[in-house]
Each structure stands twice: as structure tokens, then as C-alpha cells.
């Protein structure tokens, strides 16, 4: 076990380096950078800035420089927002995080419940309906469903706000502030949940279907246990355990899934900042955000693998 963790840890470090290099490389091959595109600079000043930022050096050198700074928490300076990238991300990341965390809880509860139910009632009308809805949810383009929801609930029915986190000019504080934000969150959270609930439901359904056909489930029944115990104790534990490894992809997945949604809902999160920085060529922000999501994925993956190994007795004791 110890050896597994160590090995897995080293693997993670290798992948972290590789990922950061690829991301850096992609930005390095961009023909323009934020100094070139800033026409207010004189050529001389531009040259100065370039050497200041080390942009005139070979790529590997620049990479090591950037990496060294990044390890100190210095991801550069956002041109558009005129502030340090790290503090900028820190400002917006929480808005995204709360939406993501609510969506995460909702997704997992719904997926677990419907997945398990449709597996034990395989081929029933419920299962059929769930299967169809699951495929529908998996097939919606995020922007289209966001727009449709705004049109239905915001424009036509006018029961929910069409965007933003608070009403323009609102000065609510305390509970009423929270309620206001909550109301604005309903659609974003619903959409994020909808987008990710399909594949997870499918995952639980398949896992459950595989497990309930195994010998030990038959043994549990032969022992005269209640069907409830057979399904929710014996089968469910085996079906859920492997899902731990999925949890790793969930949070970064929700962040990146939220990019387009945040843009459409005008939600002040990192996703919207990300898209903004694409159009403003604010590459340090773009780079830092991509790096942030990748690290989240890689570290999450590592933690998930280790947790899974710790929870499953078949691996734990090896």
C-alpha cells in the first residue's frame, strides 16, 4: 500500500510537469503576446518589457522561469483587470465553486437514486423513462440548454432572473442577500446538474446491474436477508466503491463545464473571466486557469486512487 501511494505520487509529479509544459508550450507558440498587442507601447519600451518578462529567451528557459514563478504563486499579471492573476482568480473562483458544489451534491444524489432504482427495476417503464432522459441530458449542448432555460423561465414565465448574481443596483445584505443570490443560482445549478447527471446515472445503473448478477448477491438472498439489505448493503457498497475514482474528475469537470454557462448567465465566476481573457488576449489568466483546472484534475485523481485503494479491502491489504 505504502509503495503504491509512493509510486502513484511520483507518477503524479511527472504528469504535473508534463501538463504544465504542454500548456506553456501552447502559449509560447502564439505569434502575439500581450506586449505585441498593446499598441500604446513604443518599440523600445516593448523590447524592454520583453526582456523584463524574459520573452526574448529560448522556450525551455522561459518555461523554467515561469515554472519557478508559478511555484511561488506568481502567475503573472492580468492586463485586462490590472491585477495579479492569482488574486484575480481568488476573487472569482468562489462564485464558481459554490455553484459547482451545489451541482455536485445534486448530481450525485440524483444519479445514485435513479441509477440504482432503474437497475433494480430493469426494463420497467421507470427504467425506460430514466434511460431516455439520461440520453437527452447527455446530448444537450450546454449553451443551447442555458439559452432555452433563460427564455422559458426568465423571459416567457418571468419567474427567475435571467442572469447575474444579484439584481443590478441591489443593496441587499444578510439573509435577503443570500436569498437573492440563491434565486440567481437556481438556473445555473440546474443546468450544471443536468449536464453531468446523465453519464453518472448511467454509470451507477451499469455498475449495479453488473453487481446484482454476481454470486455473492445470490448468497445474500440464500441467507434469507431482506431484499432491502441485499440491494442497499451488499450490492450498493460494491457498486459505489469504484465511483470514488470518478469523484476526482467531477469538480474540475464542473468548473470547465461551467465556462459557457457562466458566460450566458453573466455569472461572475472564473469561467466567464476565462472566456473574457480569450477575447482580450489576456493570456496569463487563460494559462493560469487552465493550469489550475489541470492541477485540480491530477491531484484529485491521485487522491481518488489512493482513497479507493484504502477503502477497497481487496487492494488495501495487498
Amino acid at each position: 500500500m505504502k509503495q503504491y501511494v509512493l509510486q502513484r505520487f511520483l507518477q503524479m509529479i511527472v504528469i504535473l510537469f508534463g501538463t504544465s509544459f504542454i500548456i506553456f508550450f501552447l502559449f509560447a507558440i502564439l505569434p502575439g503576446d500581450f506586449i505585441d498587442s498593446n499598441i500604446s507601447l513604443t518599440p523600445q519600451r516593448a523590447q524592454e518589457l520583453k526582456s523584463l518578462y524574459g520573452l526574448d529567451q529560448p522556450i525551455l528557459h522561459r518555461y523554467l522561469n515561469w515554472l519557478g514563478n508559478a511555484l511561488h504563486g506568481d502567475f503573472g499579471y492580468s492586463l485586462k483587470h490590472q491585477e495579479k492573476v492569482l488574486s484575480l482568480l481568488n476573487k472569482y473562483v468562489w462564485n464558481s465553486f459554490f455553484v459547482a458544489i451545489f451541482a455536485l451534491i445534486l448530481t450525485w444524489s440524483i444519479a445514485l437514486l435513479t441509477g440504482v432504482l432503474s437497475a433494480i427495476k430493469q426494463y420497467s417503464w421507470f427504467d425506460g423513462a430514466v434511460t431516455f432522459l439520461v440520453f437527452a441530458a447527455m446530448s444537450f449542448p450546454s449553451f443551447f440548454i442555458s439559452l432555452l432555460f433563460i427564455k422559458w423561465f426568465g423571459v416567457d414565465l418571468q419567474i427567475l432572473p435571467i442572469g447575474g448574481m444579484i439584481e443590478t443596483g441591489s443593496e441587499n445584505t444578510g439573509v435577503s442577500y443570500l436569498l437573492e443570490v440563491g434565486k440567481h443560482m437556481i438556473l445555473p445549478v440546474t443546468i450544471l446538474t443536468l449536464l453531468s447527471v446523465g453519464s453518472l446515472t448511467r454509470y451507477f445503473r451499469t455498475g449495479m446491474l453488473e453487481v446484482i448478477r454476481l454470486d455473492y448477491i445470490r448468497t445474500a438472498r440464500a441467507k434469507g436477508l431482506k431484499e432491502r439489505v441485499v440491494i442497499f448493503k451488499h450490492a450498493l457498497k460494491n457498486a459505489i466503491l469504484p465511483a470514488i475514482t470518478l469523484l476526482a474528475f467531477e469538480l474540475p469537470g464542473l468548473f470547465s463545464g461551467a465556462i459557457i454557462m457562466e458566460q450566458i448567465f453573466n455569472w461572475p465566476g472564473v469561467g466567464r473571466i476565462q472566456l473574457e481573457s480569450v477575447s482580450f488576449r489576456d493570456y496569463p489568466v487563460l494559462m493560469a486557469f487552465t493550469m489550475f483546472l489541470s492541477c485540480l484534475t491530477i491531484i484529485g485523481n491521485f487522491l481518488a486512487d489512493v482513497t479507493y485503494a484504502a477503502v477497497d479491502p481487496r487492494i488495501r491489504l495487498r
Partner: protein, 307 residues
């Protein structure tokens, strides 16, 4: 002894029920799956509409018509017209050509790269395997959409002309798509290699070429078929998202994604839903059909999974 072996022969001829080849069986099973068949027919309809439909359209793709701007759906313009007076249905069909082509071409590229690298990894193992798989790990840990956004931004920086952009989009999509496929193929090959029938090819002294092309590849085709189908759906979704954001296929080339750009104008969004609902619906229905077909294929190819 003599009579007995005769009896064996008689028996052999009787007890074997003639059954069709594996592909035919798969087809027969697929035919029983109603959702998959409906999806298949819808996809065929979508293809015909996109590739043949425009020839029957009285309107020319990019012809602007100032007299008929922003018309709602009517008898002459079934889905209405846009801000330049162009017929939406005609544009939708042309966009379908682009979106479907990108989806399928990206899939072929991903499959080509993914299965080649995966097969090399799985068959030869060693250092090649290590390098390919680490590369795949690295690419897979960068979330897809941000990676595509970055690459889309690069395309814009390079000022790639609109007509070449779609080829680069295909390459971008397959760049994101191959690592998953390579892993899958590698896993398949590794598990096949453990099968006794692959050990048998060793005992029989067959050449590597024969082992790979006659024994390994035909056995990975079924799962590749399913994954390829689902991959088309993913590619269409990614392309539409990129194009919607203006980083994928850009006007004047129409695609379902960039047609939805209309929704970014608040007046068009509120007052003229015929501008953006048809392309969105087209994406949704196409993707849902591909997903259902892929799922049906999976069931049909591997009956063990069902019961």
C-alpha cells in the same frame, strides 16, 4: 467403433443449428432495438437533408435579401430568414454538412491516431508504451474545453482563413480525442493477448503481421465501432460549442454552432427564436440519436451485458 463414429457424424450434422455470422447476428439484434432503429433512421434523414436537401432549396446560401430580413417562419421560408434575409432552412442544411463532416472526420482522425498508438503500446510494451501512455495521461488531465479554447485562440491569432479553419478544427478535436481511444485500444489488446487463442497463434508460429491483422484487430473492431459512434457525438458537441463562442468555424461558413451566435444579440434572442432554436434543436436531436445508436450497438455487439 465404426458404427459409433458414424453415429457421431450423424449427430454432428443434426445438433448444429445453422446460425448466421457474428455481424449478421449483431445486425439482427440491433434491429430489435426500437430506440436505436428510430435513431438510425433519423440520422439517415439528417444526412439526406444536409447533403441533398440544399439542391432542392430555391434559395442560394449566402444570397442576402434586404426585402425579407428577419421574417418569421412562413410558407415560403419554412424556418424564417435571418438579419440578412437569408433562408434559415437552407443555412441549417449547409451547416449540417459542415457540422456532420467535422464530427465524422474528427472521429476518423482520433480513431486512426488513437488505435495506432494504442495498438503499438499494447503489442510492443516496453519504453514505447511508457512514453505513449504518459503522453496520453498528460493530455487527458487538461480539461477538454479549456484546451480547445486555447487552441481556438491560437487559430484566431494565426488569422487562419475561414475556409481552412474547419480542417484545423478537425485536427484539434482529434488531438483532444485520441488519448482516451489509445488507452481503450491498449487495454483491449492487453486483455486479448492474455486470451488462449492469442497464445495459440504463438504456438502455431504465426507471423506478427498475421497476429495483428487477423487476430487482434478484428477483435477490437466491435468496441471501436461503439466508441467511434459516441465519439462523433462528442465531436459535434465540442465543435458547436467552439463555433458558438466564435473560436470554431467562423462565418461566412455556416455551422450549427455559429448559427446560434444569433442568440447573443438580446433582441434576436427574445423576439426572434427561429434564428437560434432550429440549429440548437438540430444539434440536440443529432447528438441524442448518435448516442442512442451507439448504446444500441453496444448492446447488440455484446449480448452478455444485457442478461
Amino acid at each position: 467403433m465404426e458404427t459409433q463414429s458414424l453415429l457421431v457424424k450423424q449427430q454432428n450434422s443434426k445438433t448444429i443449428v445453422k446460425s448466421p455470422s457474428l455481424w449478421k447476428q449483431t445486425y439482427l439484434r440491433l434491429k430489435k432495438n426500437k430506440m436505436a432503429m428510430v435513431s438510425l433512421f433519423f440520422l439517415m434523414f439528417m444526412f439526406l437533408l444536409s447533403f441533398i436537401g440544399p439542391y432542392f432549396s430555391p434559395y442560394i446560401l449566402d444570397r442576402t435579401d434586404v426585402a425579407n430580413m428577419n421574417q418569421p417562419p412562413s410558407a415560403s421560408h419554412w424556418l424564417g430568414t435571418d438579419n440578412y434575409g437569408r433562408d434559415i432552412l437552407t443555412r441549417l442544411m449547409m451547416a449540417g454538412q459542415i457540422s456532420l463532416t467535422i464530427g465524422i472526420a474528427a472521429m476518423f482522425l482520433s480513431i486512426l491516431i488513437g488505435s495506432l498508438l494504442g495498438a503499438i503500446s499494447g503489442f510492443y510494451r516496453g519504453i514505447v508504451d511508457l512514453v505513449i501512455m504518459r503522453l496520453a495521461d498528460i493530455l487527458m488531465s487538461i480539461p477538454g474545453l479549456p484546451l480547445l479554447l486555447m487552441m481556438g485562440a491560437i487559430l484566431s491569432e494565426w488569422k487562419v482563413p475561414a475556409e481552412y479553419r474547419l480542417y484545423l478544427i478537425m485536427i484539434m478535436l482529434s488531438f483532444v480525442g485520441w488519448p482516451g481511444l489509445a488507452r481503450l485500444v491498449r487495454g483491449q489488446i492487453l486483455s486479448l493477448k492474455e486470451q488462449p487463442f492469442m497464445q495459440a497463434t504463438e504456438v502455431l508460429g504465426l507471423s506478427d503481421r498475421r497476429k495483428i491483422f487477423h487476430h487482434l484487430i478484428p477483435n477490437t473492431v466491435p468496441i471501436l465501432l461503439v466508441v467511434a459512434t459516441l465519439n462523433v457525438a462528442g465531436s459535434i458537441l465540442s465543435e458547436s460549442a467552439l463555433s458558438y463562442l466564435g473560436l470554431g468555424v467562423v462565418p461566412p461558413t455556416p455551422s450549427w454552432g455559429n448559427m446560434m451566435d444569433a442568440a447573443n444579440n438580446f433582441m434576436d434572442f427574445r423576439k426572434r427564436p427561429w434564428l437560434w432554436i432550429p440549429p440548437g434543436t438540430a444539434i440536440f436531436l443529432t447528438v441524442v440519436s448518435i448516442n442512442l445508436l451507439g448504446d444500441g450497438l453496444r448492446d447488440a455487439l455484446d449480448p452478455k451485458l444485457r442478461r
